[in-house]
Every structure is written in structure tokens, then in C-alpha cells.
């Protein structure tokens, strides 16, 4: 009697274990590309889930014999968390601009060995020597983009060149905003003509009031698959990052458009950095140099649909991507765009308002 059910459980566990081991045998490969590595021929990457150029990584492993494994994330905070814990084993991380500053200030990154990175000369000077990392001692730009508005042209009338549709009562219940405190404030602040890094309490209050009034018009806050929600017709106006929105637009350009608002938007750049405790240094420099090769970089861009900061790569990028104004905006359009910077102490005030907005 006891034996029976105990036996069943044993069988169940055995089967599960068997499945697990089978999967281990055939599943272990894709993740770690490349042939028999020595212990020091390894590389661990922590990268945005939207940025993984798998083919590129496999090519690298074939070329160098270095086994690459990677984990992914969707916001900058896990990067900070893992590096602060001091026990995560990553060799390369890809934080956004403001997060680079924070990581540097907490001594979590190590300096890049410029001598080992000759391909850095390919990088677009517009994205170098930014305030968060002057002289690019710790970071090199990887991809960049903007945060704008995706619009269903068939449903939203009027001039499509500003943040206005996001705040227009005519679109009530058909609006999506990013579920991101800084980005929502960025939209409100720029719309009202202020800097999106403002720390002036009066200015912030104005933006917060605008966002509070806007909340009744918003159908959902979403930072994950806003482009799908737009495409599915749940909303007509979607605040979002350009790469993902560009994909929706490319599929049906008569119906959808990506707008880089004339008031100026967030321009962001994600950077490759090396954690202070990273050990596989040879592999790291080899990989970083590799992804800055023009052809390789172009492959990445073609795969992930975000613009890279590599100039010669343009020769190899698909023409339709180069021509896509959502991914590669005209220089004039970028004139009023601003990079996000950490606002230090004022973060608490932003957070207070954000809580009030969400709590209504």
C-alpha cells in the first residue's frame, strides 16, 4: 500500500529526471556555441533580450574557439543588482547611458584596454565622450535609439509630429504609455518645453499634474510588447522605443507611423562595459573588437533593427533599414533630443509623484 504511491512518485521523479538529462544532452549546445574550449576560453555576457545577435555570437565562437554564454534582461536595474552583489560572473554587460554613470560611481566597472580595441575608431563621434563617461574609459556605444510615438494613421487625425496625441482627450482609452517613470516624465517634460532631466520641483509638479490628468485617457502602461498592442488594435497611440515600433511600421506603413516628436524626445544609447571583477580578459577584448568590425556590426543591426553607433557598418546594413526614419532619423530631427541622466536626489521626488499618478 505504501509502496504503491511511493512507487508512483519514484517513477514520476525518474521520468522527470530522465527528461531533464536528455534535454541537458541535446540542449546544452545552442547556448554555448563553439568547439571544445579550455577553461580560460569562455565568455559570459549579460545583455538586453532584444539585442542578442545569435548568428554573430556563433560566428565568433567558430572563429576563436571561445565558448560564449549569455543571459538576458529587460531593464537596467538587474544589471546594477547583479554587479552590486559581487557574485555574478559576467564578463560583458550592456547598460544604458544613465546606468553607466551609476555603475562607474560605485566602482563596478573596469577600464577598457583601449590598446586592444583598435576597431573603436569605427564609432560615431556623436555617441562618444558623453557626460556619463568622458573619454569612454569604461564604455563603448553599442546601439542607440529614441523613444517616440507609434501612431495608427487611420484612427488618429491631425498633424503627426508631436507628443500631442498622447495627451489628447480625443484619444481617450486608446493610448498606451511606457510603464517607465523617467520615460513618462520625459514625454510630459518635453511636451511642456522643459529638459527631461529637470530637477526643479515646480517644473516636476507641472509635469506630474499633466500625467495625472492624462491617466484617465490611458488604456494601459506597458514597457514590454507595446508594439503588439498597437498592432492588435487595442490602442491607436503608443509611446515606445523606436526599434520595436519600427518593426510594426515596416509591416504596414500605410497604417502605422513612428513619430519622433518635434518637441524633442529621449535619445538613449546602450553601451558595452566590463564589470570590475570580470576575469576572461582576452576573450572580452577579442569579442568587443569583433562586434565593432563593420560587417559584423551590420549583421547585428540587420538582425535586431536598432541603429548602431558604427559608421563603416552602414555600407553593409540593409538599405531598407538605413532608409527607415524610425531607426535612423535625420540629424535635424535629433537636434532637440536629450539623453537621460541620473537625477540623483531628485529621484525620490520623481518616485513620489509617480506613486501618486499610479495610485489615482
Amino acid at each position: 500500500m505504501k509502496g504503491r504511491l511511493g512507487g508512483v512518485l519514484a517513477v514520476a521523479l525518474a521520468v522527470a529526471l530522465g527528461v531533464a538529462l536528455t534535454l541537458a544532452a541535446c540542449g546544452g549546445q545552442g547556448r554555448q556555441a563553439g568547439g571544445g574550449p579550455a577553461a580560460d576560453k569562455r565568455l559570459n555576457i549579460y545583455i538586453w533580450s532584444a539585442y542578442v545577435p545569435k548568428e554573430v555570437i556563433d560566428d565568433f565562437s567558430r572563429r576563436t574557439g571561445i565558448a560564449v554564454s549569455y543571459d538576458t534582461y529587460d531593464s537596467n536595474e538587474p544589471v546594477l543588482e547583479k554587479l552590486q552583489s559581487g557574485v555574478a560572473d559576467y564578463d560583458i554587460v550592456v547598460p544604458s547611458d544613465y546606468m553607466v554613470r551609476i555603475l562607474i560611481s560605485q566602482h563596478l566597472l573596469q577600464k577598457l584596454d583601449q590598446a586592444r580595441l583598435p576597431n573603436a575608431k569605427n564609432l560615431d563621434p556623436r555617441f562618444l565622450n558623453r557626460p556619463y563617461d568622458p573619454h569612454n574609459a569604461y564604455s563603448l556605444p553599442y546601439v542607440w535609439g529614441t523613444t517616440g510615438v507609434g501612431i495608427n494613421k487611420q484612427k488618429v487625425k491631425g498633424r503627426l509630429d508631436s507628443f500631442a496625441p498622447l495627451f489628447d482627450p480625443a484619444n481617450k482609452g486608446r493610448i498606451l504609455m511606457l510603464d517607465d517613470m523617467r520615460e513618462c516624465f520625459a514625454a510630459a517634460l518635453k511636451y511642456r518645453g522643459h529638459s527631461l532631466n529637470s530637477t526643479d520641483p515646480a517644473v516636476l509638479k507641472e509635469a506630474a499634474d499633466l500625467l495625472k490628468r492624462q491617466k484617465a485617457l490611458v488604456k494601459t502602461y506597458n514597457s514590454g510588447d507595446y508594439e503588439n498592442i498597437l498592432a492588435a488594435g487595442d490602442v491607436d497611440v503608443a509611446h515606445g522605443y523606436n526599434g520595436q515600433l519600427a518593426k510594426v511600421v515596416a509591416k504596414d506603413p500605410r497604417k502605422f507611423a513612428y513619430v519622433l516628436p518635434k518637441e524633442g524626445a529621449t535619445i538613449w544609447v546602450d553601451n558595452v562595459c566590463v564589470p570590475a571583477r570580470a576575469r576572461h580578459l582576452d576573450a572580452i577584448w577579442a569579442f568587443l573588437n569583433y562586434i565593432m568590425e563593420p560587417e559584423v556590426n551590420a549583421k547585428i543591426v540587420n538582425a535586431i533593427s536598432y541603429a548602431s553607433a558604427n559608421l563603416p557598418a552602414r555600407n553593409f546594413i540593409k538599405p531598407e533599414i538605413l532608409a527607415d526614419r524610425a531607426i535612423y532619423p535625420a540629424t535635424e530631427a535629433l537636434a532637440r533630443c536629450e539623453f537621460l541622466e541620473d537625477v540623483g536626489e531628485a529621484t525620490t521626488l520623481y518616485d513620489q509623484y509617480w506613486t501618486e499618478i499610479k495610485a489615482q
Partner: protein
């Protein structure tokens, strides 16, 4: 009970509990103590902690309580109230829906089917919670399954707004918590002595009366277990309300998550979290006192 057993009881119990004490002590008590200490701190400029210059002065001035004071401001109380309300509703709905199912599987269904039926309850939850939630979004959204069917059959002319509201969140929460209510109820119902029910009927009690005065009291341990397993996690949840509710409400779980992630204010987040923990402990304590006075079984 033999006297020898009572004397041995302590040592055996300690032996049985050693693995649990070690695991929970190391992986819960220690980390939480660290967090408690952090909750008395202040946020540094870039997140992290601000170094405290003069510890004595800091303590004496009561500055270490700043986060707790802040967490009792009206805006935050409003958030706690909403979370409480949502958790109560979820638990009540779960209980109402689950009890008959557990009863059916434990009492009515043929014996050889029981494990199968029980397994069927659990099996959906071996798929990914996230994907199931996205599946609910597909069912409920403007161009989703339900609206497709209703519009297609001509029953309605405008699509119903079934997603990104409180009802959708309720559906998602109840859906996610059902096995945590059904399984403990089942465990309790399964050992229900049916002859008692028969005796009650023989003595003239109607079915409702028998249910109320025999079945429910006898399965109270399972009911309480289920309530605790559903109510408490519901208080701290935030993912379902973000996905199905359009991230338009901020619950206690969202608040804490924001503090750890976006606001990078661990001290404040820890303070809120500890208040949540203390609040629930008080509830449990009140319940323990109540049952002890009535001489009933406590949960553990």
C-alpha cells in the same frame, strides 16, 4: 500516551526540525535581518546607502525611523487598503469556487479518478504563468476571442472592454490561486469521515445544516490553510495587475518593486515590506489567539 514518549518528544522533534531550522535560518532570517537593518538607513545619491556620519546622533534623533514615518502617509495607506481589499476579494472568490470542486473530487468522484482529477487541477500550472496570463489577454482583449465570438454572432455591435481593468485582474488572480485553495481543501476533505455525515442525516438534519455544522467545521484546517496560502501572496502580488490591469493601479507589491528597481530606494522599500510582514503576522497572531481560545486546531 505513554510517558516515555512525552519525554522523548522534545529530542525527536528537534531532530525532525533541524534541517528546516538550518535552511530557513540561513536563507530567511539572516537575509531579512540584513534588510531590516537597511530599512533604518537612507538612500544614497545613486541608490545604495548613504553613509551615516554620526551613528549615535542618528539613532537618538530618531532619524532611523524616517522611512517608517514616510510609509504611513495617506497616499501609501491608500495603497495598502486597496491591496488588502483585492486580496480579500480574491480569497473569498477562490474559496467559493474551490470548495465545491474539492468536495467533488474528494467525496463524490469515483475513487480511482481522484488522483487524475487532482492532477488535472495542477497540470495547467506546469505551463508558464506568464504565458497563461498572456493567453488571458488574448481571450479578453478588444480583438480577442470573446469579442470575436460576440461580434461575429451579432450579439453585440461594439467590442466589450474586458481587459485592462479590475475585473480582468480579478480573473487573473483567482485563476492563478485556484490550486493553492483546491489542494489543501482536498487534503482535508479526503479524510472526512462520511459516517458522520450519514449520522447527521439520520438524526434529521437537512443537507445545508449538515454541511454547515458538520462538514465545514471538520474541514476547517484545510479551509484555513487555503485561505492563508491564497490571501497572503495576493497581498504582495504585482505582476498580474500590471499585465491584466494595464499597470494602472499601484498595489503594495508594485510599490515595493518600484522602490527596489526604479527609485533605487532600498531603505524605503524594505520599510514598506517589513510593515507588510508585520501586518500579516499580527493577523495570524490574532487568529491563533482566537482558535486557541476556542480550543481548535491552529494551522501548524
Amino acid at each position: 500516551m505513554k510517558s516515555g514518549q512525552a519525554a522523548k518528544g522534545g529530542r525527536t522533534a528537534y531532530g525532525l526540525l533541524l534541517p528546516t531550522w538550518l535552511t530557513l535560518g540561513l536563507l530567511f532570517l539572516l537575509p531579512l535581518t540584513v534588510l531590516l537593518v537597511i530599512s533604518f538607513g537612507q538612500r544614497g545619491t545613486y541608490g545604495g546607502l548613504r553613509p551615516i556620519g554620526d551613528l549615535g546622533h542618528y539613532l537618538a534623533a530618531g532619524a532611523f525611523l524616517a522611512n517608517y514615518q514616510r510609509s504611513l502617509e495617506p497616499i501609501y495607506l491608500q495603497i495598502y487598503w486597496r491591496s488588502l481589499w483585492m486580496a480579500v476579494l480574491t480569497t473569498a472568490l477562490c474559496l467559493a469556487i474551490s470548495y465545491p470542486v474539492a468536495y467533488y473530487v474528494a467525496v463524490s468522484a469515483p475513487v480511482r479518478r481522484r488522483n487524475l482529477l487532482l492532477g488535472l487541477v495542477v497540470v495547467p500550472f506546469w505551463t508558464s504563468f506568464l504565458v497563461r496570463t498572456y493567453a488571458w489577454m488574448f481571450i479578453l482583449r478588444t480583438e480577442g476571442l470573446i469579442n470575436h465570438l460576440l461580434l461575429g454572432s451579432g450579439l453585440i455591435s461594439q467590442p466589450l472592454e474586458l481587459l485592462y481593468n479590475n475585473a480582468a485582474v480579478m480573473i487573473g488572480l483567482v485563476y492563478g490561486e485556484l490550486p493553492f485553495m483546491i489542494l489543501p481543501l482536498y487534503a482535508s476533505l479526503e479524510k472526512l469521515d462520511l459516517s458522520l455525515l450519514e449520522a447527521s442525516a439520520d438524526l434529521g438534519a437537512g443537507r445545508a445544516s449538515t454541511f454547515r455544522r458538520v462538514t465545514v467545521p471538520m474541514t476547517m484546517p484545510g479551509i484555513v490553510a487555503g485561505i492563508i496560502l491564497v490571501f497572503v501572496p495576493s497581498l504582495g502580488q504585482f505582476i498580474v495587475s500590471d499585465l491584466l490591469g494595464g499597470a494602472k493601479t499601484i498595489l503594495a507589491g508594485n510599490l515595493i518593486q518600484n522602490q527596489f528597481a526604479v527609485a533605487r530606494n532600498k531603505p524605503f522599500g524594505s520599510a514598506v515590506a517589513f510593515e507588510l510582514v508585520v501586518g500579516v503576522l499580527l493577523l495570524l497572531f490574532a487568529y491563533a489567539v482566537y482558535t486557541r481560545r476556542r480550543g481548535e486546531e491552529v494551522l501548524l
